[in-house]
């Protein structure tokens, strides 16, 4: 998974392009896409980290002043610790790291909403993208 992210190419606008082979977790054409980030090993009962990568598309850039956060779905089975932390990886990309504690081995499914903002010269957009991530747990 790390190799996929590290090997990303760039689109015409200079943005790091998401992994070409993987379907995005969420996308709004011409505005942004959200992809799965590199996943470290995760053990049941331990605090694990999941990462999602936001990429602004076309003329848009990531709004660096926006308080990005991940809001877990109320019915989510996996407890999530806090709203996540967002780090910019340049003008066009940022990574949201979500901490969670899986109760059992198997697959932990994180479900929630990524609150995000991207802007162009003409306008800003605030979006709430539904994200679902399946994480293998040992």
């Amino acid at each position: 998974m790390i190799a996929v992210v590290a090997a990303c190419s760039r689109d015409k606008a200079g943005a790091p392009a998401p992994a070409a082979t993987a379907a995005p977790l969420a996308t709004k054409p011409f505005f942004y896409r959200i992809d799965r980030g590199p996943q470290a090993p995760c053990a049941s009962g331990a605090t694990c980290e999941a990462r999602v990568v936001l990429t602004a598309l076309g003329n848009y850039h990531v709004n660096q002043d926006y308080p990005f956060k991940f809001v877990a779905a109320p019915a989510g089975a996996v407890p999530i610790e806090g709203p996540g932390s967002f780090a910019l990886d340049g003008e066009k990309q940022g990574t949201m790291t979500i901490k969670f504690r899986p109760p059992a081995a198997g697959t932990a499914t994180l479900v929630g909403t990524l609150k995000l903002s991207v802007c162009s010269e003409a306008t800003c957009e605030i979006e709430a993208a539904t994200v679902e991530l399946a994480i293998p747990v040992t």
């Binding site: 926006y66 308080p67 306008t123 800003c124 957009e125 605030i126």
Partner: protein, 210 residues
């Protein structure tokens, strides 16, 4: 060499200075803070002229406005601008929204402004500054961008409406929501200087024509 040595030293200092500046975020500032508020005469949505100078002796709040900006929408529907103007105008404060969007830019259309004023039950006029001269004279950069003018006509607050840059009041920096305009007006009402006089505004950029 006599000439070169001090030149190299100056160049080194300049480079060191620029490096440290680049590493730290600049403190928020405003070109009009502490200065007389630039006067203006603008027309409201009905075509009636409104002059700032006609409110001499009153406390005035200016709100840079764009109904197409999602931060403005959030602020007026769930955030700090839902009722601040209504509460403050009841105490005698004058509240003026100003749209400095140029023709053809987001949020400039008359109908869109009229609809927003109705939908959000705005108790104050929206003034049109299509040339952007008033916005630029105040250094307005964002929507919303707030300015508070005291009874002497001096700008005593410039910046954001609050410390929650999502516009929803749901992500306050430091954990506690602070409405900076309410705080500035409370300071003025108490006869003291404004404690937080300048903050960094958030939201959309003002859609100036050039």
């Amino acid at each position: 060499m006599r000439i070169l040595t001090p030149l190299i030293a100056i160049l080194g200092l300049a480079l060191a200075g620029s490096s440290s500046l680049a590493d730290s975020k600049p403190a928020p500032s405003s070109p009009v803070l502490g200065k007389p508020a630039p006067d203006f005469a603008l027309k409201d949505l009905g075509g009636k002229e409104v002059k700032l100078s006609s409110f001499k002796g009153k406390v005035v709040v200016l709100e840079w406005f764009n109904p197409g900006c999602p931060f403005v929408k959030n602020s007026h529907t769930v955030g700090s601008l839902v009722d601040t103007a209504r509460r403050q105008t009841k105490t005698g404060v004058v509240w003026l929204a100003i749209n400095s969007g140029a023709p053809g830019k987001q949020g400039n259309e008359l109908a869109m402004n009229t609809e927003a004023a109705k939908a959000w039950s705005l108790p104050h006029p929206i003034l049109r500054d299509e040339a952007g001269t008033v916005g630029k004279s105040y250094g307005a950069t964002n929507t919303p961008n707030m300015f508070v003018i005291d009874k002497t006509g001096t700008v005593v607050y410039a910046g954001a409406i609050d410390n929650s840059p999502d516009g929803e009041g749901q992500s306050p920096q430091g954990g506690k929501l602070v409405n900076y305009v309410d705080a500035a007006l409370a300071d003025l009402a108490a006869g003291r200087s404004v404690q937080t006089a300048v903050t960094k505004p958030y939201g959309c950029g003002v859609k100036y024509g050039s």
